[in-house]
């Protein structure tokens, strides 16, 4: 299988889908002439022209709402937010319009819309530009929320997201765009709402998604050299959450930690923590451990930033703690 970067995988998914279906267009800041703030849309303007690859003014609420409107009448917009931090100025359009339209209209309308872009901290971008916001979107019925962790998953999931008839929040990561991984050649999709076991193990379950999958895999490797086999479970889609495979895994390992780079309070991580705690109640040998971002606005300083986020050490400590080691 060829190796592609996360960026290329996403670019391919968009290009292939746009090729297939002319109701798809992409709109966002710097997506066209500039070739994407993070070069994710590189070459799309040249391929599909300015009717379908559209530079927008800095008006997230305006062009996200425009996307919702266009989706209500049959187009399939892809709205790129330069980062999800900026989706906050558009969140009313997402929560009150995109997510509720079908319900409010009694099923008359659908909103086949993808809102995508990088989420979470990158490199020293400080408080307003370093937010992992998936918990907010995952709270909202009517949305689907996808947070892929590998180039292969990103491509397959994004293609499904674009074909999905519902509004999908698709969260990438600036620091993952360069990450390489094997991506199957030719057409494939990965269904939304299906959890993937990324590594099998019998001693502890590590649940992680997005960027954190890679950290979890590294931690698992490290644990393995200590004789502990971790099962790494990746929901990929955080809403709807396919928790069955997580519960199954914990029934086998009896121990679990959840890793996420979002803030801890009322989060996807604590949701998963709660679900495991209650649904695998009789199987847990230790409380579910969480490894999340610290509960602080992100500081600019590099060292503080590193320490405000999950690290391998923190994962190993949490693992050891639920394994009652040291």
């Amino acid at each position: 299988m060829p190796e592609l970067s996360f960026r290329e995988a996403i670019n391919q998914a968009i290009a292939e889908e746009m090729e297939r279906d002319d109701s798809i267009f992409i709109v966002g800041e710097e997506v066209a002439k500039y070739q994407g703030a993070y070069k994710v849309t590189q070459g799309l303007l040249q391929k599909f022209g300015e009717q379908r690859v559209i530079d927008a003014p800095i008006s997230e609420s305006g062009f996200t709402g425009l996307g919702v409107g266009a989706a209500m009448v049959g187009l399939r917009p892809i709205v790129e937010v330069m980062t999800f931090n900026f989706s906050l100025v558009a969140i009313d359009q997402i929560i009150n319009n995109a997510a509720k339209m079908r319900h409010m209209s009694g099923g008359q309308l659908k909103v086949p819309l993808v809102i995508r872009g990088p989420n979470g901290p990158a490199h020293q971008l400080a408080a307003t530009h370093s937010q992992a916001l998936e918990s907010i979107f995952a709270h909202i019925p009517g949305l689907k929320v996808v947070v892929p962790g590998t180039p292969k998953d990103a491509k397959g999931l994004l293609k499904s997201a674009i074909r999905d008839d519902n509004p999908v929040i698709f969260m990438e990561s600036e620091v993952m765009y360069g990450l390489k991984g094997e991506v199957p050649e030719g057409e494939y999709t990965i269904p939304l709402g299906k959890t993937d076991v990324k590594r099998e193990g019998k001693d502890i379950t590590i649940i992680a998604y997005g960027k954190m999958v890679n950290l979890a895999m590294e931690a698992a490797k490290s644990l393995s050299s200590d004789g502990i086999e971790a099962e790494v479970v990746d929901p990929m889609t955080v809403r709807p959450l396919d928790d069955e495979p997580m519960i199954e895994s914990v029934k086998k390992t009896n121990r679990c930690i959840v890793v996420s780079e979002a803030w801890p309070f009322a989060s996807v991580a604590s949701e998963i923590g709660y679900r495991i705690s209650s649904k695998a109640f009789d199987y847990l040998d230790a409380p579910v451990g969480l490894v999340t971002a610290e509960d602080v606005p992100m500081p600019y300083n590099k060292i503080l930033e590193h320490n405000a986020l999950p690290t391998i050490e923190k994962i190993l400590n949490a693992a050891n703690s639920v394994l009652y080691k040291k």
Binding site: L66, G69, L75, M104, L109, D165
Partner: protein, 334 residues
């Protein structure tokens, strides 16, 4: 503006033909009676939530929708009864929606603020002030993207112009030359706040200049004035793909919603004064003066409407409540 302003383009309006003219009157009367009936049902607690009546503003929905084609789109805010009825939605399913019934246009999930009729390209019914403006802009974007010969009428209130969503959407429409007609129904108040206490500029159509969008003003109590203005704006949208910001000066006779103690912010006298421009009365006078309809025919319209509204209520009353499980339907397309 004089009361019952004389029609200037009488010839042209006559060319609309008797049927259409009487139908326009019929629709205005239907909107009013439908709402009076809804208000009654509300007081009987058969209707809940917010109920924002359109009474007084009927000429806007009727005049504007009469001026467009059935391929065109419309979208509005929560004060949406008039627009759905004018667009031809079966009023029975609208009344059923108000009653929260399963036969309602949104199966009882939407209520008064969320009338939708996808088939007739009536795209809601939206309850967050100003938030429908980007949607209407996106609908117009689709019309242009697909090279449809269609425009989107996007209605909003005077107070909605102060929302950021309005600004961002109009800039997009001006920049990308989208075939949209923004119709500001200036009924002089956003809830209890008079226009001049909310908008730094009170000549609302002028606010389009910040986006290179031409402004127009029309008398919103006169169905033909609205018709003319929308016709012209829609033509510009259709032929030149240019947006327009049309302010129509109108008035709501009732409170903002059913619980609004409107005496706090306006006088009885003001309301009575405005009622002298009543759009239904103006139209009726036109029909009679121009001998398009006789008093008897007018009476028949009133009678027909009465019966239709009675049927609406009956249909709504007799319709079933939605099954409990239906709350889980229509959230996701499976």
């Amino acid at each position: 503006m004089s009361d019952y302003a004389v029609q200037t383009n009488t010839e042209e309006y006559l060319s609309l033909g008797r049927n259409k003219l009487v139908e326009m009157y019929h629709t205005m009367v239907l909107i009013r009676r439908f709402e009076e009936s809804a208000a009654k049902a509300y007081s009987q607690q058969k209707i809940g939530g917010f109920l924002h009546l359109y009474i007084g503003q009927e000429a806007v929905a009727v005049g504007s929708i009469a001026a467009i084609h059935k391929e065109d789109y419309i979208i509005t805010a929560y004060r949406d009864h008039g627009h759905a009825i004018a667009r031809g939605t079966d009023p029975r399913i609208l009344m059923a929606e108000l009653f929260g019934k399963y036969t309602g246009s949104s199966k009882g999930k939407g209520g008064s603020m969320h009338f939708f009729d996808a088939e007739r390209k009536m795209l809601g019914g939206h309850a967050i002030v100003g938030a429908q403006v980007p949607l209407g802009t996106g609908i117009a974007f689709k019309a242009k993207y697909r090279k449809e010969d269609a425009v989107c009428l996007t209605y909003l209130g005077d107070a909605a112009m102060n929302q950021g969503a309005f600004h961002e959407a109009l800039n997009l429409a001006g920049l990308w030359k989208l075939p949209v007609v923004y119709i500001v129904e200036n009924n002089m108040y956003g809830m209890g706040t008079a226009v001049e206490r909310a908008s730094a500029v009170t000549e609302l159509s002028k606010r389009g200049s910040a986006y290179g969008i031409e402004g127009m003003v029309a008398d919103g109590m006169n169905v033909f004035a609205v018709y003319d203005a929308v016709k012209e704006a829609a033509k510009k949208a259709r032929e030149l793909s240019l947006p327009t910001l049309l302010e129509v000066r109108t008035y709501r006779y009732r409170g903002h919603s059913m619980s609004d103690p409107d005496s706090i912010y306006r006088t009885k006298q003001e309301i009575e004064e405005e009622k002298r421009r009543d759009p239904l009365e103006q139209m009726k006078k036109f029909l009679l003066d121009e001998k398009i309809a006789t008093q008897k025919e007018i009476d028949r319209v009133d009678e027909e409407v009465k019966q239709t509204v009675a049927e609406c209520v009956e249909f709504a009353e007799n319709s079933p409540e939605p099954p409990l499980e239906s709350m889980y339907d229509d959230i996701y397309v499976q």
